[in-house]
């Protein structure tokens, strides 16, 4: 079995007095794509934010390739470079061009040679069809384009694992596909990914494993085939039904 890249053990997360995640354990192995689904507000995004230490945690631990993320801040910048994150609203830096957005972390934080990173960035931009946008500002791009840039920006840091937090939720429907296709391409290349999404057909296509999160914990964990055709729990059935529409017609 492949090496574990992300190991979450007994994670507990509370906001004030409200428990969001309780005693949650999860492992993502090298080259694996794990998709988290679940009702709104069940803590999916919070889970990703904990992995990147954007949220502190109240119990348990999170390790990347065996090294513990210390939420108190000691090794945070280095650990975060091992975890790439793509946000729902892209969060490109509006005052920097596309290429500057991408080069910032590799050049300033990782001290890699600018020309080398630039060559890599241009190649990745070409692969997502945005090579000619390298010198544009984010505001000159569409939502789908911005999100593809955000993915390239995360990739250029060479993270061990990529986190995707509902990356198409803010997009117009016709732009969803161009972004999801890029992510499916990454899965085919064997990138290790943890994805939160509401796009069920995408989840089914991209996932090696599907996790249903509800009531602060993992309710169901199975292969996409099994999850979508023969869900084990009542909650999973109910959740999947919420994506289907029927109209009763009088004969």
């Amino acid at each position: 079995m492949a090496e574990a890249v992300l190991t979450i053990s007994h994670l507990t997360k509370r906001f004030e007095n409200q428990t969001v995640l309780e005693d949650l354990s999860l492992e993502v192995r090298e080259g694996e794509t794990v998709v988290i689904v679940g009702p709104s507000g069940c803590g999916k995004s919070t889970l990703l934010r904990c992995v990147n230490a954007l949220e502190d945690i109240q119990g348990g631990e999170i390790r990347i390739r065996g090294e513990r993320i210390r939420h108190d801040g000691k090794n945070l910048p280095e650990m975060r470079r091992k975890v790439g994150m793509v946000f729902q609203n892209y969060e490109l830096f509006p005052h920097l061009t596309v290429i500057e957005n991408i080069l910032l972390a590799p050049v300033k934080a990782q001290k890699r040679p600018r020309e080398e990173v630039r060559a890599e960035a241009m190649e990745l931009l070409e692969r997502v069809g945005l090579k000619e946008k390298a010198d544009s500002l984010p505001r000159q791009l569409s939502g789908g384009q911005k999100q593809r840039v955000a993915i390239v920006r995360a990739l250029c840091v060479h993270p061990d694992i990529l986190l995707f937090d509902e990356v198409t939720a803010a997009l117009d429907p016709e732009m969803v596909r161009e972004v999801l296709d890029v992510i499916i391409g990454l899965a085919e290349q064997g990138k290790t990914m943890l994805i939160v999404t509401h796009e069920m057909s995408f989840a089914r296509a991209v996932a090696d494993r599907i996790i249903l999160l509800s009531d602060c914990r993992i309710l169901e964990e199975s292969s996409p085939e099994e999850f979508f055709t023969a869900p084990k729990t009542e909650q999973a059935k109910k959740f999947l039904q919420s994506f289907e529409f029927r109209r009763s017609r009088q004969a």
């Binding site: 945070l76 975060r80 005052h95 910032l104 300033k108």
Partner: protein
Amino acid sequence: MPDLGLEVLLKGKNFIRLLEGLWTALRISLVSALIGILAGILLGVLAGRKKSVFRGILGGWLAVIHIMPQMVLLFLMYFGTSRAFGWYLSGEMSAVIVFSLWGTAEMGDLVRGAVSSVPVIQRESAEALGLKPAQVYLLIILPQAVRRLIPQAINLITRMIKTTSLVTLIGVVEILKVAQQIIEANRRASPNAAFGVYLTIFVMYYLACRPLTLASKQLEKHWR
């Protein structure tokens, strides 16, 4: 056409003297603006941190500056301190101190506001890329904050330039004082000089402030 008294400007060194007066006014306001901007950025950054004592200091300072007419501050600094503390400050020095205190407070508040107006998730996005806290601040937060505060900062500088007309009251020979002297000296020869001279001052202030507001508009358009 009525006699506007403009011919006074051509007599002797009158026009040059007005320009010298303008330069005094600009010197006071620009030196104060420079001090105010630098100190204000420092104060604003410090006050922008969570649970900072500087937030209270800035708040109190700002309240005093807002409530007190600048003229009272000038009198306090120039006349008040000489008797009370034995500080014999020159008029220009007093003016620079008062204007710097004013500039620092307002600039500090502008910087604090601009920094806090940058969305939290921009900071998180930078942190998620593994940038160190200082890099997040210098490369992501401040550049965005600066773009937001440039128009208000330029507005502050132009208000400072205009307000220098008060320093004539503490004996600084700036443009307004020169104007009064010229008008007095020519009372018989050109009784209408007041109009011409003050009109000239009006144009001079306009020409001094206009490039700043133009630059501000350009930057706004450039950054949008």
